[in-house]
């Protein structure tokens, strides 16, 4: 049956503003009960970061750049991870979100293999917190158990609260302003000091991000706007738009002087 999508959430990442400060990463870990990233997890390459800042080198000393790329679940409209899950643990909800149902997941990790953006994480160990630290855990977010897959949810719990308070109680339309005012933006967006992350409703004219999606869907992929989606050619139709990094000075890659 066809559901009329009222909200279709989306995000815009301005690569020109991202300083790689990791503020979003910590905010996400605090909000979503991510397991503590111990030293061993890093060494085993199993650290959890629902949003991660990738750093890419470009050029060599002295003409060198470190490019920062924040990657979170792109909530693909045509998500490769969805059809391959044998137990429907991951599916597309009626708000354009790609959601993970933890209690169904058996941990085949097929979705992780088939995720183009590598934003799905597997609980190899039972996540544990010291007893006192458990006071901090967010009651709105399930604490995942060992052996299941987890990933960025666009802080769906905040969206739910927003719907409850703003839409049901106050009967006002939900948009990025009403959400931002009440701390209902996803934790990373709320945290970002340079406003490199923007969140909102793709279907809502007055949302800041609406324009970018309009623009993107308007043209055939290459116009003079800065908006683009990573690995778009694969056809996953992500809900996250990146704005190109602006290079003030031309950097000649070929010649690298020491």
């Amino acid at each position: 049956m066809v559901v009329k999508i009222e909200h279709k959430w989306g995000m815009v990442v301005d690569l020109d503003k991202c300083t790689g400060c990791q503020g979003c990463v910590v905010a996400c870990q605090a909000e979503n009960n991510l397991p503590i990233n111990t030293k061993d997890l890093f060494m085993q390459k199993r650290a959890f970061e629902w949003i991660r800042i990738e750093r890419y080198w470009e050029g060599d000393f002295p003409n060198v750049k470190a490019r920062y790329l924040p990657v979170m679940c792109q909530h693909c409209g045509n998500a490769p991870c969805e059809p391959v899950c044998p137990v429907y643990a991951t599916y597309h909800n009626d708000q354009g979100l790609n959601v993970q149902v933890y209690n169904r997941c058996v941990g085949t990790r097929y979705c992780i293999n088939n995720c183009t953006y590598q934003v799905r994480f597997f609980n190899f160990w039972e996540p544990t917190w010291p007893e006192r630290l458990q006071n901090q855990l967010n009651p709105d977010v399930t604490v995942r158990t060992r052996g299941i897959t987890e990933k960025c949810t666009f802080c769906v719990q905040r969206i739910r609260r927003a719907e409850i308070t703003v839409e049901r109680r106050e009967r006002t339309k939900l948009n990025d302003k009403t959400m931002a005012a009440r701390n209902f933006m996803p934790a990373c967006v709320q945290a970002c000091p340079t406003n490199a992350l923007m969140f909102g409703d793709q279907n809502n004219k007055e949302d800041k991000i609406h324009g970018y999606f309009e623009e993107l869907h308007g043209h055939d992929g290459h116009s003079d706007s800065r908006g683009y989606r990573i690995l778009e050619e694969i056809g996953t139709d992500p809900s996250v738009i990146y704005l190109k990094k602006v290079d003030q000075f031309k950097m000649e890659h070929s010649e690298s002087h020491g």
């Binding site: 085993q44 390459k45 199993r46 650290a47 990738e54 750093r55 890419y56 790329l69 990657v71 490769p80 059809p83 391959v84 899950c85 044998p86 137990v87 429907y88 169904r104 997941c105 058996v106 941990g107 085949t108 990790r109 097929y110 992780i112 293999n113 088939n114 995720c115 183009t116 953006y117 590598q118 994480f121 597997f122 609980n123 190899f124 160990w125 039972e126 060992r146 052996g147 299941i148 897959t149 690995l231 694969i234």
Partner: protein, 458 residues
């Protein structure tokens, strides 16, 4: 000159049932060793289920490692059975006769072993029932039939069922002979199993028709099983190295390659172990090797296709994967070993008739094939995950842990153990098939030469 004597039926019974009637002195030690290894592996599995998959070497880019490699390997081995008994039966190849039973049994046991792999490799094995069977009717949610992981169990279970049926049908006449040669409890059991076999014309006719029908019906299943297993990987658009159209036939042919080699090796072992020199003869081994030359060459063709089209696409990550496979340690060594052991060494060893008839050389070739085919799966699955997409920031290596190694070893011990136990209760060479073959044997005089010949209807 005719190879092997034409023996009286009683002799055949006596010889081929000796694995059941008498126990060689190496038997129980062998069983002991195997079950010990299996026990250790089982303990490790228990530990893993208790502690979580953390004890494996899997990490973020590389989510499928040794277990899946091993799973595909055993599924591959399981393809010997139908290949030998069904296809060759339909093709009326005389030299299939001694091999068929062993092949089918190997099929069944390797299938069972293979199925354990994906289950223990899930994060929550105790829940994987969800995955095979519909549940949760309340909310009308069934397993997601779009997922190749749901196609898998259905195909494999179908294959298992039909193979069991196949073996059983072929076993009935032999059960009857066992029934007549045993006493006490055994006799009762075999009587039940023989289902009142008299050996009259009608029963023979039914048994044969059933056999032929099953062979014909099992063929599509046979092809589908490994094709579907290959589509577990082929469907994954995000792992470029897996997303290749050639995978299905490539895997099937590869499976036959490794499977038949394994069967040959098992046959040689049986021959040495039970002294069945008159039944498993060099001509059989040679014929199987000749078959393998064709099969492996076909496999090699698909392999080359797969590699060439890896680079054909000119996608950065895919090129990186091939670079990894061919130029970067340790993958370049694995690649060389794999290609040599899977194709060039065996082909060389099978190239001359004298060598094809030398059991030692043949066993070496067959073992090397299976080493190679295991590595093939490994080198096919892992690098694709290591260099996944163009996110070089997340590319990371995979080193399997000791536990994974033990479990993999355990699967080999398990199959051996099951075969040993089977050989104790049922004949590993179909008696009636051999007798039939002997009856059909004859000779033709051409000038001064006598050429071995068989009665045929075409």
């Amino acid at each position: 000159m005719q190879e092997g004597r034409i023996l009286p039926p009683e002799q055949i019974n006596k010889d081929l049932l000796n694995s059941i009637m008498s126990t060689p002195k190496w038997y129980w030690p062998a069983v002991g060793i195997c079950s010990f290894i299996v026990l250790i592996a089982a303990t490790v599995v228990a530990y893993m289920i208790n502690k979580g998959l953390g004890i494996t070497g899997l990490n973020r880019p590389v989510m499928w490692g040794f277990f899946i490699t091993n799973f595909v390997f055993w599924i591959g081995i399981s393809h010997a059975g139908v290949m030998l008994s069904a296809i060759l039966r339909l093709a009326k190849a005389e030299w299939r006769r001694p091999a068929s039973r062993a092949a089918e049994v190997l099929t069944i046991f390797s299938l069972m072993t293979a199925m354990t792999m994906p289950i223990i490799h899930t994060g929550r094995p105790w829940r994987s029932l969800y995955w095979f069977f519909p549940y949760d009717f309340a909310r009308g949610i069934f397993p997601n039939i779009r997922s190749p992981l749901v196609w898998d169990p259905s195909a494999i279970l179908t294959y298992l069922t039909s193979s069991v049926l196949f073996v059983f049908i072929a076993l009935i006449p032999d059960f009857a002979i066992l029934r007549d040669n045993t006493t006490g409890l055994k006799k009762i059991i075999y009587t039940k199993l023989a289902m009142g076999w008299q050996g009259n014309a009608r029963q023979w006719k039914l048994q044969i028709v059933a056999g032929i029908l099953l062979s014909a019906l099992i063929l599509p299943v046979f092809v589908s099983v490994h094709s579907i297993v290959s589509w577990d990987f082929g469907m994954a658009v995000s792992v470029k190295a897996w997303h290749s159209t050639v995978f299905a036939p490539y895997f099937v042919v590869g499976a036959v390659h490794s499977g038949v080699s394994a069967v040959i090796f098992v046959l040689i072992l049986l021959r040495q172990a039970y002294g069945w020199h008159d039944y498993i003869r060099r001509e059989h081994v040679e014929a199987l090797c000749r078959l393998l030359i064709v099969v492996s060459t076909g496999w090699f063709y698909y392999f080359v296709m797969e590699i060439i089209f890896g680079i054909y696409g000119r996608e950065a990550d895919e090129v990186a994967i091939r670079t990894l496979q061919f130029t970067i340690y340790p993958w370049n060594y694995i690649m060389i070993i794999f290609i040599v052991t899977t194709y060039f060494l065996p082909i060389f060893l099978w190239s001359r008739k004298v060598w094809r008839r030398n059991l030692l050389i043949v066993s070496i070739a067959c073992i090397s094939v299976n080493i190679g085919m295991w590595l093939e799966r490994y080198i096919l699955f892992i690098p694709g995950q290591i260099n996944k997409q163009v996110f070089t920031f997340t590319w990371a290596n995979y080193t399997p842990s000791l536990f994974e190694g033990i479990i993999v070893l355990g699967t080999f011990a398990l199959v051996t153990l099951l075969l040993l136990l089977f050989s104790k209760v049922m004949p590993l060479i179909p008696l009636y098939d051999i007798k039939e073959g002997d009856i059909l044997k004859t000779e033709v005089q051409i000038g001064r030469r006598t050429v071995p010949a068989t009665f045929r209807e075409d």
